[in-house]
Amino acid sequence: MRQPLGEPVEVEARFPPERAYPVPRWVRWRGQREPVEAVHLVHERWEAGARSLIYALTVGGRWVELRFDPHRARWYLDAVHSEEP
């Protein structure tokens, strides 16, 4: 199930010129640096008049949802998937 978190994280990302959004490569969370294995989907969300980018990724073998706030250039770990019901 999707477990909501909302914690700030450090992300190393590339900004490819042909893409409209940065592509995360590594995520550092709670002291661990994990590689981004797959980017499943990126979509935009408009909230409170501000645009953010939502990433569905597999990081270190686990599904996570990252949010990038382009105004503050900050990344947040919004949710992870856990097997528990």
């Binding site: 499943h40 008049g49 939502i54």
Partner: protein, 412 residues
């Protein structure tokens, strides 16, 4: 040559693309799964159990007890629609966004460059898989016009390509039941069946003057459809006209199909309409309502106000007065809709004169600020609480015009 591109199980496929742990499982995108809601989209796996869009979540769970309910996420679907529109525009500018998950494309001139219509359709499918994701498949129908292309894409489902060539049209018409055509609903199909018309070919053989006598102007359109002719031209996204009216409608789930439920939904829709008007900086003078009963009977009326409004209470009260003047809510209301037309920029509309109206305006502005900051559902009227069942159930639907206009704006 017209292409009809239909995304397969769109909302459900987007969710499966975003969350690999949902792939291969029966999932349903709906409103809030914890309360009575409706199915907005079912995955291919859920469809195997007989689950279809429009069913209640209760019915879906009965058909498949282990079905997974996923709340709708309109932002996700809208982003993906913008993205597949961008892909198609690389091939041709003649792209019509027909709905959030359906597109018509005219590519007679471009097709030879890609090796013919079939090769072009395959290239589009490949681009979608590569750029949108492996779960986002589409079915493509190729035919001489929009009507036949849509019939062809039905044959192509899921994920295939079906081409109706001009010489195959008579056979297609002979085998296609009239209700397969979008625009021929169950009531019309029943009336046609009483006249001995079952297939499009039957319709084509029927004398047009008789169809006109029975169905009026619509009879002429039916006669054309019966001959496999579609009178509607492809309307590319860049010809999309600016918004002429703003409104919302919603089919009601069983639990709300009573006058109080319909009244609550009307208020909820008026709030949404007024909020969208304010977001666009518009106000409108003509309020229009639509109600549908359980026999598919529709009641509509409109009223012109003295001055334009963007206020939910004014829109609601006007619609409510109209409804009462036209016999009230049907005991079993199945659909409620409200629309505000005769739009003009809000800054040109007169400001409220009386203190109570000024207070109401300030209240509305305060509510807008709260919703801007904390989200649409952060603050609600108590009377619209029951409408939470509708939230997310049809997220993203009906947004095609706004997406097309945004893309048109980006081209400039």
């Amino acid at each position: 040559m017209v292409f009809h591109i239909d995304m397969d199980s769109y909302f459900a496929s987007v969710e499966q693309q975003a969350r690999p742990y949902l792939r291969g499982k029966p999932i349903v995108v709906s409103g809030r799964p914890d309360i009575f809601s409706v199915v907005a989209a079912a995955s291919k796996e859920a469809k195997r159990y007989g689950i279809r869009s429009g069913m209640t979540t209760w019915e879906a769970q009965k058909l498949c007890p282990h079905v997974i309910f996923v709340p709708g996420d309109p932002d996700k679907y809208e982003t993906l629609t913008r993205r597949f529109l961008d892909i198609l525009i690389r091939y041709t500018p003649m792209v019509e966004l027909y709905s959030i998950d359906e597109v018509f494309l005219e590519a007679s001139q471009e097709a030879p460059r890609y090796g013919g219509p079939l090769a072009l359709a395959q290239a589009i499918q490949q681009d979608f898989r590569q750029e949108l994701g492996e779960c986002l498949t589409c079915s493509i129908g190729l035919a001489p016009n929009k009507l036949l292309a849509k019939l062809a894409s039905e044959k192509a489902k899921p994920g295939g390509i079906h081409w109706i060539r001009p010489d195959q049209v008579p056979a297609v018409l002979a085998h296609t039941p009239v209700e397969a055509v979008t625009g021929i609903g169950p009531r019309i199909a029943k009336r046609l069946a009483h006249m001995g018309i079952w297939t499009l070919a039957d319709l084509g053989r029927f004398p047009e003057p008789y169809l006109r006598r029975v169905f009026g102007v619509y009879g002429a359109v039916l006669a054309l459809w019966g001959r496999g002719v579609d009178p509607t031209p492809l309307r590319p996204y860049w010809q999309e006209e600016e918004v002429k009216s703003v409104g919302h409608s919603h089919a009601l789930p069983h639990g709300l199909r009573h006058p109080e439920g319909a009244r609550a939904v009307l208020l909820y829709l008026c709030e949404k309409t007024a909020r969208r008007l304010r977001a666009k900086g518009l106000a409108g003078r003509v309020v229009h309502y639509a109600l549908r009963d359980e026999h598919m009977g529709v009641s509509t009326a409109q009223h012109a106000l003295d001055s334009p409004t963007d206020n939910a209470d004014t829109i609601f009260q006007t619609a409510l007065d109209l409804i009462h003047a036209h016999g009230g809510f049907p005991p079993q209301t199945t659909l409620v809709g409200v629309r505000v037309g005769a739009l003009q920029p809000q800054k040109e509309a007169p400001r409220p004169l009386f203190p109570q109206d000024q207070r109401r305006e300030r209240l509305q502005q305060a509510l807008d600020r709260i919703r801007d900051r904390y989200g649409e559902e952060a603050i609600l009227r108590g009377t619209t609480y029951t409408c939470q069942v509708l939230v997310g159930a049809t997220g993203g639907m009906g947004k095609q015009k706004e997406i097309a206009l945004a893309r048109k704006g980006a081209d400039r």
